[in-house]
C-alpha cells in the first residue's frame, strides 16, 4: 500500500470562490454583509428597516437566498432597491459559487453595499464563507436563550449578533444576559445588539455599527 498526502480542506473550492467574490467586491469597494438566522428570526424585516434608514445615503442591493419562492425578494423590491433571488432548491444554505453567479451579473461599480440574506437555518450557513466582509446573526427572543449553546458554530463565526423581536420580551422567558454571555463565550469580539424591528427600538446602535463597517471598506 502506498500513502499519498492530500491535506486539502473539503471546502477548498468554496473558499476559492469566496476569495474570488472578495476580490470583485474589493475592486469596486462594495461592502457585503451575510445575514444569517434560523427560519423566521426576522432577517427580512431587519433588512427592510435597514434599507429604509440607509438607502438615501448608500447605493444598496440585496441578494435573497431561499430554498424556494420569491416572497422575500418581493418584500425587498418594495423598498425600492435592486434585489435578486437565489433559490437553492435542496440546499439549506448559500455557497460562494451561487453568490458568484449573481455578483457577475450585478453592476458592482454602481453599488456601495450588498446585503445578503442567507437561507433560514441555524446550522449549515455557518460553514460556508461567501466572500462577505461580515457575517451577522439574528436570534429572536422567541427562539430561546439556549440557542448559542446548541448551535455554537454559527455564533462563533458571526461578527455581530442582533437579538430581535425585543418587543416580545415580556411574553417569553428569554434571558438576554444569558444569551449574550453564551454567544460571547465562543466569540470574544462579538458585538451584540438588542433590536425590535417592529417598534424601531435599538435600531440606531445596529445602524451605527453597520455604517462603521461600511466606512472601513468605502474609506469614508
Amino acid at each position: 500500500m502506498h500513502e499519498i498526502s492530500i491535506k486539502s480542506d473539503v471546502l477548498a473550492d468554496n473558499t476559492l470562490a469566496a476569495h474570488h467574490n472578495r476580490e470583485h467586491l474589493h475592486e469596486h469597494r462594495v461592502y457585503a454583509l451575510n445575514l444569517m438566522s434560523g427560519p423566521g428570526a426576522g432577517k427580512t424585516t431587519l433588512l427592510e428597516r435597514t434599507i429604509a434608514a440607509l438607502k438615501d445615503r448608500y447605493r444598496l442591493a440585496v441578494i435573497e437566498g431561499d430554498v424556494q419562492g420569491r416572497a422575500d425578494a418581493e418584500r425587498i423590491g418594495r423598498c425600492g432597491v435592486p434585489v435578486t433571488q437565489i433559490n437553492t432548491g435542496h440546499a439549506c444554505h448559500l455557497d460562494a459559487r451561487l453568490v458568484q453567479r449573481e455578483l457577475h451579473a450585478f453592476p458592482l461599480a454602481e453599488l456601495d453595499v450588498l446585503l445578503i440574506e442567507n437561507v433560514g437555518n441555524l446550522v449549515c450557513p455557518a460553514e460556508f464563507d461567501l466572500g462577505e466582509h461580515d457575517k451577522a446573526m439574528v436570534l429572536s427572543v422567541t427562539e430561546g436563550h439556549d440557542k448559542p449553546d446548541k448551535y455554537p458554530v454559527m455564533f462563533h463565526v458571526a461578527r455581530a449578533l442582533v437579538l430581535s423581536k425585543l418587543d416580545l420580551l415580556p411574553h417569553v422567558d428569554f434571558d438576554v444576559e444569558r444569551a449574550t454571555r453564551a454567544a460571547r463565550a465562543l466569540n470574544l469580539d462579538l458585538e451584540v445588539f438588542q433590536v425590535s424591528a417592529k417598534t424601531g427600538a435599538g435600531l440606531d446602535a445596529w445602524l451605527c455599527w453597520l455604517e462603521g463597517r461600511i466606512a472601513r471598506v468605502k474609506g469614508g
Binding site: 471546502l11 427560519p39 437555518n121 460553514e127 453564551a182 460571547r184 463565550a185
Partner: protein, 141 residues
C-alpha cells in the same frame, strides 16, 4: 406526514421530531460535501495514475456541523461508479479544544456558566475542532 423535499430545515444537525424527513434532507446536504471530496480525490488519484483507492483519511473536528455518520453514508453512495467505489473512509475526529486567554485553562466544552472555571474570564479561544480536511489516501501498489 412526509414532507422532506420542501422542508427548509431538512438538514443535518437540526433537532426536528420527524426523523425520517430530516434524514432525507440531511443526506442531500452531506451528499454535496461528499461530492466535493470525490472531486478532489479523483483528481489526486489521476495525478498518481492510481486505478483504485483503498482508503481515504479525513480529519473532522467536533466543532463543526458535519455529522460523521451521515457523511460516511453519503460518501459511500457517492463513490459508486467512480474509481473510489468500495474504498474505506477513515474519519479521525478531532475533539474541540478551548483555551481561556486570561489564564490558559484548557477544556473540551464551554462550561455551563460560560466563564472560565479557574479565573472567571468570559470568552474562550477555539484551538481545535474546526478542521474538515482530506488528509491522505492509500492506493494499492
Amino acid at each position: 406526514m412526509y414532507q422532506s423535499a420542501i422542508r427548509p430545515r431538512g438538514c443535518y444537525g437540526q433537532s426536528d421530531p420527524d426523523g425520517e424527513a430530516v434524514r432525507a434532507g440531511a443526506l442531500v446536504h452531506e451528499l454535496s460535501l461528499a461530492q466535493d471530496m470525490i472531486t478532489t480525490l479523483t483528481r489526486v488519484a489521476a495525478e498518481h495514475h492510481a486505478p483504485r483507492v483503498a482508503a481515504v483519511h479525513l480529519k473532522l473536528g467536533e466543532f463543526t456541523h458535519v455529522d460523521p455518520e451521515t457523511l460516511a453514508f453519503a460518501f459511500e453512495v457517492a463513490c459508486r461508479g467512480t474509481l473510489l467505489e468500495g474504498c474505506r473512509l477513515e474519519i479521525e475526529r478531532l475533539p474541540t479544544r478551548l483555551r481561556c486567554p486570561a489564564c490558559a485553562w484548557e477544556g473540551s466544552a464551554t462550561p455551563a456558566e460560560h466563564v472560565c472555571p479557574t479565573c472567571g474570564h468570559l470568552g474562550f479561544t477555539v484551538l481545535q475542532g474546526r478542521e474538515f480536511q482530506l488528509d491522505s489516501m492509500d492506493i494499492p501498489e
